[in-house]
């Protein structure tokens, strides 16, 4: 493939611009990928043989944005070579030097490799294979923990032969070995004999599922050979299940009328469901917790909040039974919001068909914990907090008039009366007279995302990754409206390992200082 090289400084007219080649993307110039710029635009240029076949193949798979692959912007043929203009991925770091990769936690390694395998699966399903994927084609993005395919010098039509699959995926076995065993990959033949001799079946960093995956990557033949990228993805998933210890959850809760002078009944409700399922070798814990604070006449408020909690828990249980809780595990945030959505529909149903005693409304804050992730769905002024690394982070935003007026710049901080009234006025809640649409069901706030160092899109699509030591706290405004934030933090710090004791202490603190509202707290400790 000589003669395809571009030279630094060379100018290429392509697309709507003239790009000056700045450097090869990889040290190995046979990758046929360059970084080029036209003024402020930075792009990639790839080169390949003329005749249309190369161009057609990359057009077929890169015509739209796909994870881990660059998007094709333009192609042309010139001077005996075909040139493609592609979007630039940042950071454009060629793959991994050993220390970084070897130091990565195993679950991140599996995440990254699974994503890479998904990208390869997309290519293969489009009938294209890379004719061998190597490190000189891969970029590493440390921020997202993902690989990007940065070069495709030899794409070709994929045949039915398992060799085509194997050439592209064998790199996965290499990278996996290097991280898990913390040493250089010995090469295919050596690896095959190590596997045959059972050398990997013991030792310090022994992992029972590892030889299985490596065997699939080492040869395209035999019983263990992988037929397609999806099989490799599944094998990696099995390995992940092996290394992940399911998190243990301990839940405590407490709810009371509060001071009998001010309140005749308890309009707050809270509830939780916990489930532990095992499917195959996979053990998963799923849990749902919620707090609801009723609004309306005395009976109606109580009924609305208890109905909301009951139907929220029921909706969660249904999702647990459906395909082993797949929806909850795949998208905990959307699931938590879906539960809130369905709860609001249930309230509307009861309100329409059974209007007597069903005229109330309620706030609703629900937390889904699925495997190692959490999601929240939230309406009203109850709150969900996360206590992590000594900090209490409010994950939800109060839907009160005060929030809106602050936004409008109309809340006078000096005017205590206005502020209190605005704080007590709820701008969004569930009601028995109509159902909320998806857009009105809230979730993580931007402030929480910033404090957690995760971007909001990830929180919405994949949920919040929970870890051992986390404590979630759900409270009605009888708690956070009465206790000063410092007091709340102090109590959480003191009782972070004992959710039951924490809730009990919070509730009794409020009652002792003659709080005016019902008091409810629910805490989940992740171990």
């Amino acid at each position: 493939m000589k003669g395809f090289e571009l030279q630094p400084g060379e100018r290429v007219e392509i697309g709507a611009g003239t790009f000056e080649v700045s450097r090869p993307l990889f040290p190995d110039s046979r990758s046929h990928a360059w970084l080029a710029r036209d003024g402020e635009y930075v792009r990639w240029l790839w080169t390949g043989p003329t005749g249309g076949a190369w161009t057609e193949l990359i057009e077929r798979v890169l015509d739209r944005p796909r994870h881990g692959l660059p998007r094709l912007l333009a192609t042309k043929e010139e001077g005996g070579r075909a040139i493609a203009l592609l979007e630039h991925h940042r950071p454009d770091t060629p793959v991994l030097y050993d220390d970084t990769w070897r130091a990565l936690p195993r679950h991140e390694v599996l995440d990254a490799l699974q994503r890479l395998v998904l990208s390869l699966g997309v290519l293969h399903e489009s009938g294209v294979c890379l004719g061998g994927l190597s490190r000189s084609h891969l970029l590493w993005d440390d921020a997202s923990g993902s690989f990007y395919i940065g070069a495709m010098p030899k794409p070709r039509e994929r045949s039915d032969s398992s060799e085509d699959v194997w050439r592209d995926i064998k790199i996965v076995g290499e990278l996996l070995y290097e991280n898990f065993k913390n040493r250089n990959y010995p090469g295919g033949h050596e690896m095959a004999s190590l596997l045959q001799a059972g050398e990997l079946d013991h030792g310090e960093s022994w992992q029972p599922g590892l030889p299985q995956v490596l065997a699939g990557c080492v040869t395209p033949y035999g019983e263990l050979a992988l037929k397609n990228a999806h099989e490799l993805w599944v094998a990696l998933e099995h390995l992940r299940v092996e290394i992940e210890q399911p998190l243990q959850l301990r839940i405590g809760s407490r709810s009371t009328i509060g001071s009998y002078i001010f309140r005749k009944n308890n309009q707050d409700s809270c509830g939780h469901v916990k489930m532990q399922t095992t499917s195959g070798s996979r053990q998963v814990s799923l849990a749902f917790c919620c707090v609801a604070d009723g609004i309306g006449g005395i009976k109606d408020g109580e009924r609305a909040s208890s109905l909301a909690v009951a139907s929220g828990c029921a909706a969660f249980s249904r999702a647990c039974h459906h395909k082993h809780g797949e929806m909850l595990l795949d998208s905990p945030t959307s699931s938590a919001r879906a539960i809130a959505r369905v709860v609001s529909q249930q309230l509307a149903l009861e309100g329409e068909f059974d209007p007597r005693g069903n005229r109330g409304g309620t706030t609703f804050s629900g937390l889904v914990l699925a495997g190692s992730r959490a999601g929240i769905g939230h309406v009203g002024d109850s709150r969900i907090y996360l206590f992590r690394d000594g900090e209490l982070i409010q994950l939800t935003r109060d839907h009160t008039l005060s929030t809106i007026l602050t936004e409008l710049g109309e809340l006078d901080p000096e005017d205590e009366v206005q502020r209190k009234a605005a704080e007590r006025t709820i701008s969004r809640f569930m009601t028995s007279s109509g159902e909320l649409d998806d857009g009105r069901i809230d979730s993580f706030t931007l402030e929480a995302a910033d404090r957690l160092g995760v971007d909001i899109e990830t929180l919405f699509s994949e949920g919040l990754v929970i870890k051992s030591g986390d404590l979630f706290l759900l409270t009605s405004d009888g708690v956070h409206g009465e206790l000063a934030p410092e007091e709340l933090l102090k109590q959480v710090r003191a009782h972070q390992e004992h959710p039951d004791r924490l809730c009990e202490t919070l509730v009794s603190k409020v009652v002792a200082q003659m709080g005016h509202d019902n008091v409810t707290a629910l805490a989940v400790r992740v171990d």
Binding site: R23, R43, F353, I404, R428, H516
Partner: protein, 376 residues
Amino acid sequence: MFYRPEHHRKEAPVDHPNPSSPATPPLDETARRRLRQRLLCEPLAPRLDLDVFRGWREDRDPSLSSSHLLPALARLSLLKSAKSNDEVASYLQWTIYGPRIYLGRYHSSAGPVDIFFDGLLDHELYRINAPHALLELGERGFWTLKALSRGGLVAVDGETIEPGDPAVPVGNRQRITLGVAQFRFDILGDGTLTSWTRRLEDQLRVQENPALFLKRQGGICGPRYELKEGRAAVIGRSFPRERDLSRPGHWNAAETLDWDLSGLREHERRHIGFRHAIIRPRNDHDWEIEALSLRHKLTVNRLPVTEPKLLQSGDEIGLGSIVFQFHHPNAGRPSSRATVKLPNPVDWHHEQKPTKPPELPGKRNGPPPLPSKREE
């Protein structure tokens, strides 16, 4: 075998902050909040099967989201700020398909509006009233704007319009202010009603039986329900069987629906009752409508209906926040009854918002408790 990334960076630094698109500054706070709001507004349904969570199945007719039959007449685009003329994004644009458009929020006491600004941020919506303003395309081809609510700001190019003022002309690309939100008004097509009217007449002409047409953003669109001669029709949206309610026995869920509106867009179906209304023949020729739901409003020509109401061709039927046009092919030209005056608009500014239940006096030294108001 491994390459040291630092080495590379030294060789050829790439310093541009956002190389894959024309230089754009990092997202400011408002833009981040809009992005978040947009993510929240994406329907949950395609990713998740909500029926699993529900435990019963909704009958969502996909044809209810079909596109418009009439040409677009104009468009409102949310602008970035009071000073900028840049629109925020295409998803914060509202296309106008009819010559008479009520703008604002929905409130059950004021009846439906044609454009309710879903997707705006909470505080922007809070300053929009129900209804807020009326946009109208006159016979002579000019658009005008009228303020409808006290306390809700309406302005054209910065000139405030008071409620009670005569309608003010609005030209192409002029700026309209509603509350704290700024919009640009764009006239689409040739700016006249000629082709719009022709397309409307074509649509109605082929409709041989009396029918209800869904009206979105002021103009009829694809979805319709054809009434069957001599047969009553119940309109609403999917509901479960009685046993799925917490207190069975209190209601009669034996009836089925004739037109299930569950498939409407998220924000449209919000105020539709499960059994909302029934249309039945009054005699050989005429049809009447009656409310079935106690909790959701039924309006005809934007006025509330409490007892059976005789329908005339061209009448606008409001179910909660959305509008249908009743069409009767043998009634000659559509009546122009859809122009009656509206009930008093809801002024959010001075209206008391929902609050916690009344409490015993003396609490928190605050003001007297506000009455609970259920509709948001």
